[in-house]
Symmetry: C2
Subunit: 362 residues, 2 copies
């Protein structure tokens, strides 16, 4: 059976009506709402065809039709209109970015939170990670008599720091010494490169006060492993309360427990293609068992060549794909721009003075 123009129009109408109402769509309402000027009976016939083609399904014999995964897929790939971002949405994004100009992590979270707000959906995100955490520079600073801070900067521009509380005071010279030895031995190494071998080397080089050294090395290790560990977060999960799909306690419990499980989130994220495009997973295309009645849309963002992350939404398969995809695209593009400006192109001899920003601490 061919999918002629009229069938497409009807399919689109069904999908959009269902997205709005969450109720199975009957022939009569399509007949009235669409401008095809066809009677309910005709629509009925067409809908029968669409069902036969696997694009629509009936929850039960005498109910209206609901899009199938395939139906949504066709809609997303071919039928839907591009949603135009509104001024107010742009403004909200701007506010989120402006307000938190200070920290990389916080900008991403603020943008994610705003996105969750605009779409009314739970958002899942991954903070910027480097592909390989190469130690660039290690700095040990005496903060006050009882504490030193270890600051590790990574080749891709991430900076992490750790505080070390001491019970005895250390001398300026010792710290200077420590700085030199650490940089000599660890610069340019990856996480896996910082192994027992190197540590032994550093330890013999420093000689005295091995306890402080051990702690410092531990912190360096921790920092580097944080740099190339994907940190996944979920924002606005309680947004699902607003969907009739989740007006039942069992469903709510299910999605909460599913989203609290790190493994599930990792699995979702790992479904991202690495060609920089948006990934739309509809219904049973979602690779997590407990989420197969939902859809997931993910988009990548980039900070610099080496740093990237992901933002996306999770929600009922009946979601406003058009709007969400447009807004998500816009948000991740903007995010890439803003972050890229601030963190990516630091070596350019721009005359402008500075941009303030802090990230990745603790």
């Amino acid at each position: 059976m061919a999918l002629d123009e009229r069938k497409k129009v009807i399919l689109q109408a069904v999908v959009e009506d269902y997205i709005n109402t969450a109720e199975p769509v009957g022939s009569r309402s399509i007949s009235k709402k669409s401008d095809l000027n066809l009677s309910a009976a005709t629509i009925r016939n067409e809908m029968g065809d669409l069902e036969e083609m696997g694009l629509l399904t009936q929850p039960h014999t005498s109910a209206g039709r609901v899009p199938s995964t395939l139906g949504y897929r066709l809609y997303v790939d071919n039928l839907m209109q591009k949603y135009e971002i509104t001024a107010s949405e742009v403004e909200k994004l701007q506010d989120a970015v402006e307000l938190k100009m200070k920290e990389l992590d916080k900008i991403v979270r603020a943008v994610a939170s705003t996105f969750s707000n605009i779409t009314g959906l739970p958002v899942i995100g991954v903070l910027p990670t480097a592909e390989t955490g190469l130690v660039n520079n290690i700095k040990v600073v005496a903060v006050d008599p009882g504490a030193i801070m270890v600051i590790i900067s990574d080749k891709s521009g991430i900076i992490k720091n750790k505080l070390l509380r001491l019970k005895t005071e250390t001398s300026e010279e010792y710290i200077k010494h420590l700085n030199e030895i650490l940089n000599e031995n660890l610069s340019g190494l990856t996480l896996s490169g910082i192994n027992l071998n190197n540590i032994m080397k550093v330890q013999t080089a420093v000689g005295e006060n091995p306890e402080i050294l051990t702690s410092v090395l531990e912190l360096v290790h921790e920092a580097v492993s944080e740099i190339d560990t994907k940190q996944i977060f979920v924002e606005g999960l309680s947004n699902i309360f607003s969907f009739p799909e989740y007006n039942n306690i069992e469903k709510v419990k299910e999605i909460f427990s599913a989203m609290e499980n790190k493994e599930n989130l990792t699995q979702l994220i790992s479904a991202m293609p690495n060609n920089g495009t948006i990934k739309v997973m509809i219904g049973d295309e979602v690779p997590v068992e407990e989420l197969k009645t939902n859809s997931v849309i993910l988009a990548p963002y980039r900070v610099s060549d080496k740093l990237c992350g992901v933002i996306g939404v999770v929600g009922p398969a009946r979601m406003d794909y058009s709007k969400i995809i447009s807004v998500l695209e816009y948000f991740t593009n903007q995010l890439s721009d803003v972050l890229g400006d601030k963190f990516g192109k630091r070596n350019e001899p721009i005359s402008a003075l500075l941009e303030s920003g802090s990230e990745g601490e603790e």
Copy 2:
């Protein structure tokens, strides 16, 4: 009417049965379970009396009895037995503390999370805050050519740091200069002390590069205000799903929205007495409208003389007061000990070398 010994035993039995089963307690089950050897009819009479005294209520005429707020209160104040902490609970706490020996914030959160785990209840907590954030020392460090870090230490021992990304490089001398000026002008000031006046003074003292200075001052301000702002967190809220009280979507929505509201949390926390004791709020004693069917138990912990925080639980009025109070007491005591050792007594000339720890960053 007098509350004789037998009535007390019966009240206790009712409360404990209700805590376990969540079902209104009938006279027959008390007659069987308690070792009073009385018939259901006798118990019935006594329960009638207890109801008259306002200690028990009936959900409806032909149901069993349920403790009233007053009944719980009497139970908590006079009747309940002290719960003995189990070895496994001690062990879990130890694990939580050991595992995260590095950071003040994280230890508190880890303990809170473990506590939530053991009690099966949502936990509410406040990170350590100082009563007045007096600036002790400001350190500006060049991390790499494009970034400087500002580290602010507070008189009470909290250390915060902020990263500042630059587009131009700065000289070592400028940074040294900055360090001196900042400490000269801002040491010993409180948040409110860092006002336009001081800032102007610093600005004229530095002279060149006012943009960097402005940013640095902004960061200092931010850091100090973070130090004396109460940071409230909630852990394990989805634990409420395991209570029959919350097997209904409306209730779940209600508690989620109530607990997402910062104002409510602040209101709860502000109900803490400042004499260092545990606060138990039962049912309508809870000062938040949406939580009046629940109970809240809060306990303070101290890091040093000036630093303190709060940990507690929120859950159905039918909660295991005995266990929760004992465990909470134990946890906060341990927390105070551990943190006090690490962060409070740093000036003692202890021969031991060091303890590692980091906190308050970002």
